[in-house]
């Protein structure tokens, strides 16, 4: 039986932190990206606010690129002539709008050891706030299930799929969690729990004022003129790449790289403090880095 790939519910912060890809071997074998919490994602379902949308292709060969925001960050989507239904739907949408997307995962590796993830939509639909709220709640529940599975696995000396299934986790998730634990060093569950708490508060009017201050900032700029989509991605992410490398290099004690040292380091490659702030904000948005304590940046 070849079942259809399930559409995972994953927040942007978790999705964008994925650095492990499992490529299907042989014809038609599906590929997956494995998130730090063990979601083995081939297909996603997400609902968010479409904030940016540009056709960087031509009228005949459209290529739509867009950004969809959820309470934790942004999803990057791109849709061209090979996704006729999604592309036709996107061409009729004027941001901002609540949009639901069913799509496939996509990865981009500008160089060995780095990987960026985006989404290639299959179906796109304008929806209403209540569908978005429902998605946020469902995604909170799904994320908590994954946190629980990772926590269970961390208790085991050598976590196995069978042991996790015995504890009541689904075989698919158990497989992803075992793979994730082998690849990601020390996943910070506290951070993901805090993320779920914030997302739940986002749904409740009594916490609204508290949340607004924490909403992900709209910082990353996309270049206006781009030749093709890979160049577009590369231009924006080249700087981010360099900063990421620097942060990794300066994080000697594992407590994060000191901000002042990062500033000094990027100066040498001709980046000023404002530009650096833009880059780190974008990295924070994507969930690639976080600030364990004030004044320190750490890779996730």
């Amino acid at each position: 039986m070849i079942g259809r790939e399930v559409a995972w519910r994953v927040f942007a912060a978790e999705y964008n932190s994925s650095r492990l890809e499992i490529k299907g071997e042989g014809e038609r074998a599906p590929s997956y990206i494995v998130s730090p919490l063990g979601a083995m994602v081939n297909r996603v379902f997400l609902v968010g606010v479409l904030t940016d949308l540009d056709n960087i292709g031509t009228g005949d060969e459209p290529l739509w690129r867009g950004r969809l925001q959820d309470p934790t960050g942004n999803f990057y989507i791109s849709s061209g002539q090979y996704q006729p239904e999604a592309t036709a739907a996107l061409s009729k949408i004027e941001p901002p709008a609540f949009v639901a997307v069913v799509g496939k995962t996509r990865t981009y590796s500008p160089e060995e050891g780095t990987m960026y993830v985006s989404i290639r939509p299959e179906r796109v639909r304008i929806v209403e706030a209540r569908e978005r709220d429902h998605w946020v709640l469902e995604t909170c529940k799904a994320t908590l299930r994954r946190i629980e599975a990772v926590a269970d696995a961390k208790e085991m000396a050598a976590p196995t799929v069978d042991e996790l299934v015995k504890l009541g986790h689904s075989p698919l998730l158990a497989e992803g969690v075992v793979k994730a634990l082998a690849h990601y060093q020390d996943v910070d569950l506290g951070r993901y729990r805090a993320m779920v708490v914030d997302a739940l508060k986002f749904l409740l009017p009594e916490y609204q004022s508290e949340i607004e201050a924490e909403m992900p900032a709209e910082t990353s700029q996309r270049p206006e003129e781009i030749e093709d989509e890979e160049a577009a991605e590369a231009a924006d992410e080249e700087k981010e790449d360099k900063v990421l490398t620097i942060i990794t290099k300066l994080d000697k004690a594992g407590k994060g790289a000191p901000w002042d040292e990062i500033v000094d380091e990027v100066k040498r490659m001709g980046m000023d403090k404002t530009a650096l702030e833009e880059v780190t904000n974008s990295l924070l948005d994507k969930g690639l880095i976080y600030e364990p304590v004030l004044g320190r940046m750490k890779r996730i």
Binding site: M1, V6, A7, F45, V102, P171, R193, V197, L204
Partner: protein, 442 residues
Amino acid sequence: MEKQELAPHVAEISRVLGNKVSEEQIAKELDTYLNLYRVSLETAKRSVVRKLGGDPNALSKGVQKKLSELAGAEQSVDLLVKVLSANRKDIEQNGEVKTLIYGLMADESGSMAYTAWDADRFQLERGQVLLVRNAYTKEWNGKPQLNLGTRATIETQPQDAVKLPEGMDVPIYGPTTAKVSDLQEGMNSVTITVKVLQVETRKIETQEGPKTVYSGTVADETGRVQFSSWHDFNLIKDEVVQIRGGYVRSWRGIPQLNFGERADVQRVKGHFPADVDLSKPRPRSIGELEMVGGAYDVVVAGVVVDVKKGSGLIQRCPQCNRLVQNKLCRLHGKVEGQYDLRIKAVVDDGAGAITAVLNKEITEALVGITLEQAIKDAREAMDPEVVKEKVEERLLAKPIEVRGNVISDDYGLMMIVSEARMFVPEVRGEAANLLSELEGSQ
């Protein structure tokens, strides 16, 4: 060992001895070694051959190999394997209907598809550990495939003789106490406590004359399941019984509970289960259903993530009811199709996906369109796709709850929907509860 099981070994010894000794004599000798002296089959065969003047080395040319070592043209090979799946299939060969078994076998090195060409001789069951002798391989679709033909023999081995890599093994069902939602194809010796919702008798003709089958529906708080019994346990509607020694077989993925005269049925006193209305189907996770392969009368809730081709306004053949495409029926050629409405929607709950098939009545109610209106719309637009677009407008990316029987085929799970409704989820209350749980635990 029974005579029938011995037959292939007798034939092999006879071959080694150049057909000079009668099979009757060989069978008698072999029987003595096996059933009187109780030596292993291999020793018995070698001894018989030696005793009757043959060369024991001529026995079973097969070399024991691992599955990963097999090429596409092995003539004769022995394997120590576990049966991961065993499916029966009827084929027609030279005008005769014959049953074969196909599925997957595995050892430490990997797994391989197999076909056993005689279901009577190889009574393969899922989970068996076997020493297979004299199997051969053939290449199919670029991969070697294992075949158990006329020369092959099987011997059951202890379960721990084959240790499979993690994740590949099949669950072995010993005597289990189960709930209805746990029931899964291949389970034996099941103990289960259920309430009888419905029971009826049917007379059927068998080779041994007419027999009565007792069948119906039973339920517990996890769900409902259809049962059948060849023995009269005098089951009465609404009573609660504990069944010991039931077994599960499935039809197109829907598990069915069976129990025969060897089963034990006891009446259970008291309310059961007090707080659940058993007359209603139980909600299930789609991921769970993917694991068991199907279910009888359940409810699932999820989001419509796709509306498949062949949804909306379709045409059916007036003779066979099959889908008519480009005015052609697959069976009856050019026909005047009759209009119908239906939806094939993919419902996904984040744990699994299922194709829900909705008939005309349910489609009309859900989408708010009649068949007549749909025909009119399609004619006006000169394109039947406008009806599918209307279906998508109403369903896509929205939460839906569907009820029905879940079956499985090559493409995954499918539900024949008996009831469907779009629902507006209650978000805030659940979010607040979840939040206080989380903050309470911190």
